[in-house]
């Protein structure tokens, strides 16, 4: 029987089992990419046990205050509170399966702001480095409405020309500045590739690091869109990097709506559904569209096949 051990502490004590190579799943992402909402739904889905294919809770241990708080907000169809830097907790949930495999999913940085700083400051904490080296896989979170994309001046000129604005007229004002580059201005896809390739390089040569890409808030995208196509078109640098490095980074892309809809405008309908029915999951290999644990099951399946 699959199971989940649940533990959330201010600084998680990772078990000796999970620090053994191949038993740790890292949940990472830039700020406001849906990690907290997903975690709340994941905790509920794996503990409630009403979705047949989902991983289930085997036993509850440790302090679950934080997980219960975010789960309760999710059940009430309320927005997750933003986790500020300095308040982040390292949260973990351990999943077990009948074959004896285990995967402890850890969120080392709930706010995402530390994750964002790795690109800018060219370094990360030793505790994160330990987890990177021990990881069996990564859940990488992206939010369609929170993506910082690059805009070229020439492309903007074409758009404005189409609206009847003359580039020469715009140029005739004050001299153009030549500011120094600041790393925070780089597009998100560059930051994500940089962190992924840095993670790969911190691991032993040839060690694989599977990536489950989770596109959160899937409900905001038009019907018929596929997670694969979204990643190819909106973060093409990450898409190419994963495809080119599929031997080191086997990957699968999931579109997940943990809320099930817009809680600002559709809350009444969402509250009328059973919580698990709110959850929407799409992607290759997803057998049940309400199985919030699908990305974790995929990582666990690779760990069990010894692909590490």
């Amino acid at each position: 029987m699959t199971g989940t051990r649940v533990r959330a502490e201010r600084r998680a004590t990772l078990s000796e089992v999970s620090l053994e190579i191949g038993r740790l799943g890292l949940m990472v992402g830039l700020p406001a990419t849906g990690k907290t909402t997903y975690l709340a739904a994941l905790y509920h889905g794996s503990e409630e046990g009403d979705v047949p294919e989902a991983l289930h809770v085997a036993r509850l241990t440790g302090d679950r205050t934080y997980l219960n708080e975010i789960r309760d907000r999710w059940l009430r169809c309320e927005e997750a509170e933003h986790t500020a830097t300095g308040q982040e907790k390292e949260v973990s949930i351990e999943f077990l399966d009948p074959a004896g495999g285990s995967l402890e999913v850890v969120v080392p940085d709930m706010s995402g702001e530390s994750f964002a700083s790795y690109w800018e400051h060219r370094g990360w904490p030793e505790s994160f480095d330990i987890r990177v080296k021990a990881a069996a896989g990564v859940l990488l979170f992206l939010h369609p409405n929170q993506l910082h994309e690059r805009q070229l001046i020439e492309a903007m000129d074409e758009v404005l020309a189409g609206l009847g604005e003359d580039a020469a007229q715009r140029e005739s004002g004050a001299p153009d500045p030549e500011p120094e580059w600041s790393p925070d201005t780089s597009p998100d896809q560059v930051k994500l590739v940089d962190v992924l390739q840095s993670m790969a390089r911190r691991r032993p040569p040839g060690a694989i690091l599977p990536i489950a890409v989770v596109v959160s808030a899937w409900d905001v995208l038009p019907p018929g869109e596929s997670p694969q196509h979204w990643v190819e078109s909106r973060i093409p640098l990450v898409s190419q990097y994963l495809e080119a490095n599929d031997a080191v980074h086997p990957s699968r892309i999931f579109g997940i709506s943990a809320q099930g809809g817009d809680i600002a405008t559709d809350r009444e309908r969402l509250l009328s559904l059973s919580p698990s029915e709110r959850i929407q999951v799409v992607g290759d290999g997803v057998a049940n569209q309400h199985d919030i644990t699908a990305p974790v099951r995929w990582l666990l399946s690779l760990a069990e096949r010894g692909l590490r």
């Binding site: 370094g123 001046i153 590739v193 093409p236 190419q240």
Partner: protein, 342 residues
């Protein structure tokens, strides 16, 4: 006599506090970032906020692991990439503002939109360096016109790196592009010894001579830029730093050349003939016209980048597999034939 306090791990149940193995895998408790205080041998605990005893242990801040800076690479830093055996090294040579850095930035930007010429972006050791060079052409800079930060003479020659994987063959290539300030090539045009200041001249796969299309387009500068280009190539060949069969001649800002009309176009044809003459019988110059950006509607931005990439990744590889002239059997001299040598 004062005793040395020992460190305490804050994690509940950590065996390291009683001499066992650290729960997080550190070899000694002193390395563990969870150490928050010290415990005196008599069992009392010193809280982190307490003033430490003289010679006592301060609470330990978590150590940080540094990642590579991502700056453009020195020749030494590029060695691991070169050692992999799949690298193509190119040098963009041209006067200041001829478009060297802009061309490299445009190639990198092209991959930000998706695969290019059947190649996938596979990673880069110099992502921050590329981002810095692209910045002034992006809306985030606050500019109304795109430009590229000049490579200054104080910047020592460095290399930008792009890892690329062919989409169908899955063959990996590392592209190393040497980014050098234009003033160094002015110096080389004036004195062959100046080539010594530019790294890896001896191991280039492509020597890319840039001719500034903006100067070709202007009658006042047309002849001067064509003469300077020919002299630069001649200097490189006579200094022995470049073989004549690895040369790309790239006319940049082709949109401006085309806009300038027949005299500019004919000047380009003329300089190519003269460059071919300089290269001699063994020369195999590859002529490419590019427009990394475009100010006209007749030439698209990114024009020629496809041909450039193919030259660097495919033609360079082909040339590397051809036997050098030193490997080919040498013809007998008349003296050897007289002596009956075979």
């Amino acid at each position: 006599m004062a005793t040395v306090p020992t460190a305490v791990c804050s994690l509940e149940g950590c065996p390291a506090n009683s001499g066992g193995a650290c729960l997080e895998g550190h070899e000694t408790i002193d390395e563990c970032p969870n150490v928050v205080g010290v415990e005196s041998p008599d069992g009392g605990e010193v809280a982190p906020d307490d003033e430490p005893d003289e010679g006592g242990t301060q609470p330990v801040e978590e150590r940080r692991v540094d990642l590579p800076r991502g700056s453009a690479l020195t020749a030494l830093e590029a060695n691991p990439i070169l050692a992999r055996g799949d690298a193509t090294t190119v040098l963009l040579a041209g006067e200041a503002e001829s478009g060297k850095t802009t061309l490299l930035a445009a190639l990198y930007e092209r991959f930000q939109d998706g695969p290019f010429e059947d190649y996938l972006f596979a990673g880069s050791d110099t992502l921050p360096a590329f981002e810095e060079r692209c910045f002034l052409a992006r809306v985030a800079s606050g500019r109304s016109t795109a430009t590229t930060k000049r490579t200054t003479l104080t910047d020592s020659p460095r290399m930008l790196h792009l890892g690329l994987t062919h989409r169908t063959s899955r063959v990996h290539r590392d592209l190393l592009a040497v980014d050098v300030a234009g003033e160094r090539f002015t110096a080389a045009r004036n004195n062959n010894d100046a080539w010594d200041a530019i790294p890896i001249m001896g191991s280039l796969d492509r020597f890319v001579l840039l001719i500034d299309g903006a100067k070709i387009a202007e009658p006042a500068t047309r002849q001067q830029v064509l003469s300077a280009s020919r002299q630069l190539m001649r200097s490189a060949l006579e200094a022995g730093v470049v073989a004549p069969n690895i040369v790309d001649v790239v006319v940049t800002k082709w949109d401006l050349v085309q806009q300038a009309g027949d005299q500019a176009l004919s000047a380009v044809e003329n300089v190519l003939e003269r460059l071919n003459a300089v290269a001699g019988a063994e020369g195999q110059i590859n002529e490419i016209r590019t427009a990394a950006r475009s100010e006209t509607e007749f030439v698209a931005a990114g024009y020629g980048l496809d041909e450039l990439l193919r030259s660097w990744l495919e033609e360079a590889r082909q040339r590397r597999t051809l036997p050098s002239t030193a490997d080919l059997p040498q013809p007998l001299s008349p003296f050897d034939r007289y002596q009956g040598q075979s």
